[in-house]
Amino acid sequence: MPSNWGYVLAAYGIAAVALLSYWRHLARRTRALATRRAAKPRSA
């Protein structure tokens, strides 16, 4: 059986990109909502 390292790297590479992208999406969304909340005038 050949090593097939290319397949292993492809699987882990795609997983890393997907997980990091989701983490960045969550971080950006949290920052945007926190900024919007801070800018919102408080009601009396």
């Binding site: 059986m1 050949p2 090593s3 097939n4 390292w5 397949y7 292993v8 492809a10 699987a11 882990y12 795609i14 997983a15 997907a18 997980l19 989701y22 983490w23 969550l26 971080a27 969304r29 949290t30 909502l33 926190a34 919007r36 909340r37 919102k40």
Partner: protein, 213 residues
């Protein structure tokens, strides 16, 4: 708390990579391509966990009408779709060198694809309904019905003749896996569970902020 969980997850994932690529031996039959298992199996176990939480959150929402349960179900559903997608992609990449094909309409693969489509539908439904109460109610019904797929995916290799191998981790018999490979798999499963808990915590915080703004 979430920050500490995040760092714990980073340590867990690093330990998982070290276990999968350093500690675990090269598999005798498949060679190094078997190392995809340390990604593929924890990803599907995490997806199961996520969809079970969707089920529990949906039942609890319908019983109590408390929005926190809906937030839990929504967050878990989104993360479950991510991990099911990773399961399908990593399985497909693993399938090419071992089965000679990227995809086949095998019972396990097909039922997993159906599971993925059901929960993508669940997320689409949530995005289409504006009224929060109606959205939570309809989504809870889909979240409960969608969970029927989880045992179908898991037992598909038992119920139908499949190309996919039978369960070795959650099977009824003692696992035949080599102890070193089993330990590497366990470390990666713990790391993925930590990652899931971290994502869930952050996603629920976003849902809470969305309700307040």
């Amino acid at each position: 708390m979430t920050r500490a969980l995040g760092w714990l997850t980073v340590v867990g994932l690093a330990a998982g990579l070290a276990a999968g690529f350093g500690y675990a031996p090269r598999e005798a039959v498949q060679g190094n391509v078997q190392r995809i298992m340390y990604l593929h199996v924890p990803a599907v176990l995490t997806a199961y966990l996520a969809f079970v939480l969707v089920l529990l959150g949906s039942i609890a929402y319908l019983a109590t009408r408390r929005p926190g349960w809906d937030r839990l179900a929504a967050a878990a559903g989104e993360i479950g779709v991510l991990f099911t997608g990773l399961t399908i992609v990593s399985g497909s990449i693993w399938g090419k060198p071992t089965w000679g094909t990227w995809w086949t309409w095998d019972a396990r693969l097909t039922s997993t694809a159906v599971l993925f489509c059901v929960y993508v539908g669940y997320l689409l439904l949530r995005s289409l309904i504006e009224d929060p109460e109606a959205r939570a109610r309809y989504a809870a019904v889909v979240g409960i019905l969608g969970a029927v797929n989880i045992p179908i995916v898991h037992f598909s290799v038992k119920w139908w003749r499949a190309l996919h191998q039978p369960s070795t981790i959650l099977g009824p018999e003692r696992s035949p896996i080599d102890p070193a490979i089993g330990l590497a798999l366990f470390v990666n499963w713990v790391a993925f569970t930590l990652l899931f808990a971290y994502f869930l915590s952050r996603r629920m915080e976003i849902a809470r902020l969305e309700e307040q703004t």
